[in-house]
Amino acid sequence: MENISQIGVTTIRKEAWDKVTGNAKYNSDDIRPNTLQAKILTSTIAHGLIKSINIEKALNSKGVQAVITGDYYPALTGSIINDRPPIAKDKVRYFGEPVAVVIANSEEEAMAGVNLIEVEYTPLPVVASVTEALKPNATLIHENLGYYYCPDYTVYPVAHTNIADHVKIRKGNMDLGWSESDVIVESTLYLPKSDHLAMETRNTMAEITPSGIVNIYTSSQSPFAVKEELNKIYKIPEGNIIVHTPLVGGAFGGKAAIHLEYLAYLASSAVDGRMVRITNTREDDITISPSKIAAEGKLKIGATKDGIIKALECTYYIDCGAYADTGPRMAKSIAIDCSGPYNIENIHCDSISVYTNHGYVTSLRGFGHGVCTFGIERLLDKLASKLNMDPFDIRIKNAIAEGNKSPTQDIITLSNTGNITACLLKLKQVMNWNEGNIIKTDKGTIITKGIASLWKTSNSPTNASSGVVLTLNDDGSINLNFGASEIGPGMKTTIAQILAERMKMDVENIHVFMDVNTQITPKHWKTVASMTTFMVGNAVLNAAKDLINQLKEIGGIALKCSQDDLEIANQKIYVVHRPDIFISFKDLVNGYQYSSGKSIYGQIIAKGSYITSGLTPLDKETGKGKSANSWTVAAQAVEIEYNPENYSYRLLKAATVIDAGKVINPKAARGVVMGGMSMGLGLATREDLIYDKEAILQNSSLRTYKLLRFGENPEYIVDFIETPQIDAPYGARGIAEHGTIGIPAAFANAMSLAVGTEFDTLPISNEVIWKTKTGGKYDSF
């Protein structure tokens, strides 16, 4: 029986035609009659006590059904530290924090109600930077820090400070490392906050039915976490909570955090359980909802005169804003991968999560890895320059390899990491490095190329789990049901391909349940961390095994032979040595019926699950431990053309060579890596949430917060290395975030070379270059 492989073959996404016809339904498209609309009144200052809130006028306003404030149901939330009230109580800690929620018949009536609420604040000193937050007599943002409940027991907030956590890496012997070093280079960095900017803003609906079911409809990467959190915070029996997530209009980590779900539930409970919708405007989404961390860093690296790195010391301060959310976990990621994909035997790293009065934070594509990558990759270029070495040579010379140890002293293998040297060599080739990395053109412009390597682990909980259920249709096709949200990269199709490959059948005959309904969909931890292919992929392979076993058991009866003689392909079970003797899946779907009419077995339902195994928490003092099963490595480059006449530049090329283990859907894989680079170039060139000295956000619309537009993109080069990860489905590693991670560093390396100035801060716009070169004088032209 012939079979065509489904892996490594470009497969049109399962939901593709829905997305080009307007038929694809996102949560924001779920428009229902008799749904109330909620609007949020937000804090107008960044830090202050709430002296009074007068909701009388709003309550009496036309169409308003209820107004709730922080007193309505006081509770603290947070996935790592329970530090955040969904609605501010007594105190506000960032500009844009929810202070009250108005529920009304229509959006305009809710908005009118919001405008009638009177709030008086007693302003408190604003902590507008990490530096201010860490001063000995700093204003405390959380007076009760140290007493908050921490759902993650490996986080260590420091009482009477603004420090949410401190992750330490102590590897090797620093004195030895420095003594073996011939050269030492130091560097600093500052990376600003930025926004996820998913095209669908966050939005949620909630209702509480008369029978006590809490239905949450939400655009989320974490529907199962929503269920768990609502259970914990509001004491709703978990089985009574059903979270529904249809297609998600972009997420990038920003919809992993639970945010509007709390408000929608509270709002519904305030109006006798009626359906309430809460939808962020774009400005709300940027201002109220969490965004990316900002980071400051100080680094010092030592190497021999031959360029062998001997020691790395780094300190990162992570600006988590007013509430920690997953900030401390990103700080941990930065620490555990602080060396980049290089073998460094002596490492001293501190990664400190700090509260400020900026907007709060959550995961964003790369989960902190953009920070440590920027740190080490800028440092390596400076080191290479000092040693008069080629940027590729220094990276290849120190590339991490089998048998080395990670900063957390985990053993590196080719399988668990991939081949960074191969990525670098391929990158060198595709970027025509031999023509030189700095070329002066006849036009007077300068073309430069910068590179960066990266690696990334998932840093998931030590018990993250995933499940798959398979049922069959009467035509023998398979229904595939699992709990990852389809947020864009096409994981629903990827998993279908993995199943098709294992079942040796056409992927067309696998039907994917595209939405998530936590009551009927098997749990998937969260659709984050580039872990879906790995986790659900392993679960679906286990489910396929179960399905094949059941089919063979019943097929053996039907074909009157031993199960051991049976094989499957093309939705048939056949005798290995006599392929002409077979029975089709469709004849076994509901059990088997003998010619006499008697039936046995019943319908086939198969299941499979996966749980992360073998992970351990990190030691508090040394960081020793195993935080992930694997890394993905990649090498990236950016080529730019700089015009020294007017300090402007153009993006010419951006390239990624990534060790994908195995590429499952080539065009989709190329797309997700390219899209990652596009986001990385945004961070590199323009994206920046700007706060004034009172920590008031200045750019909360798409007119002031600029994204890359069509035509501003460079030529993209995407290439793959395929070093299988043994424990991954068909060897496939996660690749969804990685395109973003190293691009800002590669870009900064290229710009520094072109301009002749070291750029250690992002974004690097024409204006930044002009200011750097001229001091910002108006008459500089």
Binding site: T21, Y26, D29, I31, M199, G490, M679, R703, L707, G711
Partner: protein, 156 residues
């Protein structure tokens, strides 16, 4: 000239059909399409004219439906993504992977479809000029460029 001061029933030509809808003077075309007609293909992304996710065609030209009042569409032909029937650009987007999450897709499809009708010979500069109206956060734009170029006249 006409004046609409209160909620009123008006007739709009949507996807080739005359449809009666209730409007308030302040309703945007985006609001009416989504909330009154259930045509949710046009998406709110910023409701400020910056992102283009709500783009529809009005008398064949791309218009951001969040910036147009519904009453301004009286007497005009409105085409939404739901009204595209096997337009070449739809297949081109599918085959070129011109989307990931798909939220911006309707808007891009309408701009590209209009471009292919109004400027079938568009060169790179004109393509860029038209498509800079819309934002995509998932792709690298290259996929969208490949898709639109595949339906434009190629001998230029």
């Amino acid at each position: 000239m006409f004046e609409i001061l209160n909620p009123t029933i008006i007739t709009l030509n949507i996807n080739g059909e005359d449809r009666d809808v209730m409007v308030k003077p302040s309703h945007t075309l985006l609001y009416t399409l989504r909330n009154e007609l259930g045509l949710t293909g046009a998406k709110p992304g910023c409701e400020n004219g910056d992102c283009g996710a709500c783009t529809v065609l009005v008398d064949d030209w791309p218009i951001k439906s969040c910036l147009m009042l519904t009453v301004e569409a009286i007497g005009k032909k409105v085409l939404t993504v739901e009204g595209l029937k096997n337009a070449p650009i739809q297949k081109a987007f599918v085959e070129n992977f011109g989307f990931q999450c798909g939220y911006c897709t309707s808007g891009f499809l309408m701009v590209c479809h209009s471009l292919s009708k109004i400027r079938p010979n568009a060169d790179d500069a004109e393509i860029q000029d038209w498509l800079q109206s819309n934002l995509c956060r998932c792709t690298g734009y290259e996929e969208i460029e490949d898709a639109v170029k595949s339906i434009l006249v190629k001998d230029i």
